[in-house]
Point group: C2
Chain length 399, copies 2
């Protein structure tokens, strides 16, 4: 790997599998008899174990947040823009932990795992998982690693919701909660989009009520559609337009402009793909459908739908945070219409009402919800500065 | 019908079928050998035929814009809020004409019609139709009715696009162009949503490459999904929340609040329908799938995608309107995120650049894109006042 992929990169990384024997009782009342978590770590845990940062992933993420898995690997982990030596989440300072969540399809116990009670894949019988369940499973990982208190827990989107749950459920176990492009709960519109995605999966004839693995198939069309819907909500209109050319070049070695027919330069008057945006979505949907498990997609979207920490507090979100001891950093992006700045401001308001320390940053960015994954200077620099201060405070050095 | 349905209603109405023998060459280069249009009219054409108003329908609309089809009919035409005696489009003053567009499934020639060349349903062989083709077919209807110049052509959404095309293609044949909740062309995001809808239909195994009628089936799941996606884009988040209760009462005779489980009052931790928004969407999708033709849905969304009158003028929309002689009224709604106020303001800007008479009204309304169908006082009153003035000007009375 003598190329510039290694600049500021954590380099080659290897996931580790952690096994947990103790049953985990879930919010639904069901229990997992035991479970495995796939984990990656970057950087070194310091002597007093005070420099650990937990990264929580979003809907389609996994434990592979930074670096490369092999010499030939062209694509780094999903948050490589922010995690690495000298980067915002600086692995020269922090010991960074990222795991694949329960119910995922990245190697942690989930629908594609074998159910010890039946000897078959869990498939659709994998229990519904909530954000709270994830955090409960993550605490056990923390204990296993010997970490008493995270310097920070950070995540975007659904990852940000796990961050909020940490602050509520385990107030004494984190110094900083960093929730990016998140929301206190889903809007009606968010849930509606999730439901369309789920319907498209479950109505695919290859879904077989979730038992597709036993039939040697998978609901490719349904997953493609689900991803297409998702993708629209992750991008702003301008981001979508900006992205066509690139994805399209990858698809057919061509470039062109929005609205122009791909083959003839004019309208083809047919139902073949006409516009680059359509090609782009097909390409994205197809790529995704080949690597993501449909039952996991259903579980992840339900976890989103069910997230509402105010539920245990009579709908008063500020009361949910009453016991929180950490400082909060919230970040939103101007063109994010999935979880727009308004939703982060709601959170800020409730946190202030609960008398918490909150920093809030609204970033002007064209890229919609996806912006949290991108190297937008003001965003990355702010995250870097915040975590630099946190490191000085917690770990006591002046570097 | 001795009930209050008849207050300000045009009452019982009957559609008429018009046959046109002359072939119609379409924008795609194909031709229809002849065609039929289903038409409804309300009010009386005056002696000099100066009081006629054409209503153009949107994606899922048809010729039935006002009144009732039978004594038992509980649901009036789609724009009954605005068309009737004393209403904004006042049938005491105006002779109102509405037709089902070519390619539709309301009785005009479309995919469910018999192709005279094959003796079978057109199905997927029905040619791609553009907004321009519709307007060309509408001119022939106008001629048949002996109308020289419309007092106004009016429509919302895709209907508004037909209005704009009238002003461009037939400048001498209308006094007023009233385009509501419209756009000069679709955004990348609009096209992306249309493509998801089309994919959901064409990937339904009951679609049979569009030949579902021959197989005695129809792509119910695909149409449901398409409508669910569409419905999300028609409504604002708050409108969606406000609507649940009502649709849900219709569905199961129950009411409830957003986010509460329908049966138990708590989360059910399953993949059955959990939230009212999901029930609402299922209900809407199911209703729609039972009455709308899938091939028509594909055609209508492609007509939307292809709409861009600037294409013949090097992308300069103002030049497209250079020859227009009519006055323009544009109306947009604050929470419409499908064709938001920005898109109408783009139109206003280009019309002013072309030195046209433009009135523009931006209405504060919670209901999203659907607002154009609703009795929002400021909107309905403005439309009424504008058309009252138009009537005085054109028809010369002081009533």
């Amino acid at each position: 790997m003598n190329d510039n992929r290694l600049d500021n990169s954590v380099g080659l990384v290897q996931p580790q599998r952690f096994h947990f024997d103790q049953p985990l009782t879930l919010r639904s009342g069901k229990a997992l008899p035991g479970y495995e978590l796939m984990v990656e770590t970057y950087g070194e845990l310091n002597a007093d174990k005070s420099n650990a940062v937990l990264i929580c992933h979003a809907l389609s993420g996994d434990h592979h947040a930074a670096g490369y898995h092999s010499e030939d690997d062209q694509k780094p982990g999903w948050w490589d823009t922010c995690i690495g030596p000298g980067k915002a989440i600086d692995t020269n300072r922090f010991f960074v932990v990222c795991l694949n969540n329960l119910g995922g399809c990245g190697g942690s116990t989930g629908p594609v795992s074998i159910n010890p009670e039946t000897g078959k894949h869990y498939g659709p019988d994998f229990p519904i998982i909530t954000v709270r369940d994830w955090v409960n499973s993550q605490v056990r990982l923390m204990d296993r690693l010997g970490i008493g208190k995270w310097a920070a827990v950070a995540g975007g989107s659904l990852g940000g919701m796990q961050v909020l749950r940490w602050a509520i459920s385990y107030p004494e176990r984190l110094h900083h909660a960093i929730a990016i492009a998140a929301a206190p709960k889903l809007s009606a519109q968010n849930i509606a989009f999730n439901e369309v995605a789920r319907q498209s999966i479950t109505s695919d004839p290859d879904f077989h009520d979730g038992h597709y693995l036993e039939h040697g198939v998978y609901p490719k069309q349904g997953l493609m559609l689900a991803r297409m819907v998702g993708h629209i909500t992750y991008l702003s209109d301008s981001a979508m337009r900006a992205k066509f050319g690139k994805a399209f070049a990858a698809l057919e070695g061509q470039t062109g402009n929005f609205g122009r027919d791909l083959r003839t330069g004019s309208l083809s008057f047919g139902f073949n793909v006409d516009f680059e945006v359509e090609s782009y979505l097909h390409y994205q949907g197809e790529q995704f459908s080949e690597k993501f498990d449909a039952n996991t997609y259903l579980l992840m979207t339900k976890a989103l739908d069910y997230f509402d920490p105010s539920v245990d507090y009579g709908g008063d979100l500020s009361r949910a945070f009453a016991e929180s001891e950490c400082n909060f950093l919230l970040i939103s992006f101007s063109t994010d219409w999935r979880f727009p700045p308004d939703r982060s401001r709601e959170l800020v308001k409730q946190l202030l009402k609960a008398d918490k320390q909150v920093s809030y940053l609204e970033i002007e960015a064209d890229q919609g919800h996806d912006a949290f994954l991108l190297p937008i200077p003001r965003y990355v620099n702010a995250l870097s500065a915040y975590l630099g201060n946190a490191h000085r405070e917690i770990c006591g050095d002046a570097s």
